[in-house]
Subunit: 302 residues, 2 copies
Amino acid sequence: MSATPPLYGGIEAGGTKWVCAVADAQGRLLATGVIPTTTPQATIAGAVRFFQEHRTLTAIGVGSFGPVDLRTGSPTYGHITATPKPGWAHTDVVSPLRSALQVPVGLDTDVNAAALGEWRRGAGRGLETLAYMTVGTGIGVGAVVNGRLMHGLLHPEFGHVRIPHDRSRDAFAGSCPFHGDCLEGLASGEAMRRRWGQRAEDLDDPAVWELEAEYLAHAVMNLTYTLSPERIVIGGGVAKHAGLMARLRARAFDLAAGYPATSALTDPAAMDEYVVSPSLGDHSGIAGAIELGMRRLASPDQ
Amino acid sequence: MSATPPLYGGIEAGGTKWVCAVADAQGRLLATGVIPTTTPQATIAGAVRFFQEHRTLTAIGVGSFGPVDLRTGSPTYGHITATPKPGWAHTDVVSPLRSALQVPVGLDTDVNAAALGEWRRGAGRGLETLAYMTVGTGIGVGAVVNGRLMHGLLHPEFGHVRIPHDRSRDAFAGSCPFHGDCLEGLASGEAMRRRWGQRAEDLDDPAVWELEAEYLAHAVMNLTYTLSPERIVIGGGVAKHAGLMARLRARAFDLAAGYPATSALTDPAAMDEYVVSPSLGDHSGIAGAIELGMRRLASPDQ
């Protein structure tokens, strides 16, 4: 028997804070810490200090805000690329952590990490495919397909899909600096703040939330028709608004119009199980980051 | 040396005809035949006769029109489900072929088969992820992600995503019996025929094809932002119209607005390599059906 069981680290690397955690091989959190996101150098150094002060680690994983270069073999693998966040464009996240901590470092997007966390430990356990959508300041999707995260060209950027926008109902031009009225431009927390002049959490007019449910229902149905996931988990601050999930499920059910004839789209009770809140609450991302570290250790060449 | 090298059969099971082929282990076609799609019994019997007359087979694969139940373990696995095609709803395709030919039978959707064919033998060779969209009488997408086809809840039904529809530019309400103006309802060959009163192949007004390129460019960008494929192949009869691919690439490039900053979306020459016609011409589907047979033999329990 080894005297020191393996421990894993995870970082949920967000634009305002980095959540760091240490877990055992079953994913149980043993220690957590929060580091404000300032400059890359100071933030990464803070994460290194957290892990050095706590435990000797076997591997760590990072779920990062993006866009991130995940193409193994790319000269900029492990870099945050063209983010608008000041000071963070073209930042190498992986190398400094690996150098300082001397362990393998797994990396994926923040939403892919959350999808992986829910798939491994939460609402997606046992499923072949799972989509996770976050609706907060921005909108993003991560997905596990056949047990693996989706990368390809770069990684999903589902916030930027276009959906129907009826300007006679909603004259707001959209808040996306690239696309105006893409999904994120219409339905993110930032879009709500700019359309209504108040933060999403302070809005309680039912018409506000009917419109939000309309856009998110289109997002849910476009995800369904494109990825055919077995479940869709919706996290993020905006999605916590009381009653929103019920409204969006009802509207998605109407939009599906019974096609294709699979129970999630023809039975309202099955729809309740198809579009769900995260089982792990606010811990989907950190659970997934820890899993990214475990997977990196298992497949060091990936 | 074995006296009889292994041979594989493939069926591209369409709504108007079934294309049957026999190929060697390298996928080279040795014989092909066409059977009109009439009743399930007569059509399946025709396919059985084709294979019995030609060669002794090791396995066959079927790429079928749908929706199809692909969930292994489901009591209706291998059945075409709620198709509007008269006589074909709830038809078991796999069992009669397996019983008559006494070989393993692989099955997937027609578009998943075409995606697999292009990934294995055509425009997607060597890629991790590939999407194949057909634009013909209907619209469908198949996708290979991390080397495997996408199933999940059922299988992708991308023809039914909603995209922006500017009714001041295009007053047509859409032809989809379920959704009206979903992608298929706006941009399929059937939608074009109903909007313009002529078959797509007889239409040559540039405004017709500008509108078609607009809708297909939205489809391409929504696929990009959702699946993040490394390449998108566009097949089907409507996509053959001279100039359409160039128009839709140009419009997709504009819609992307350089985000995310990956070469396919920032360099028009790279976009030309990102959205392409099938390398296998009209043989993507049959090549993929044969590959489905080979895969079924390799993984009989899947």
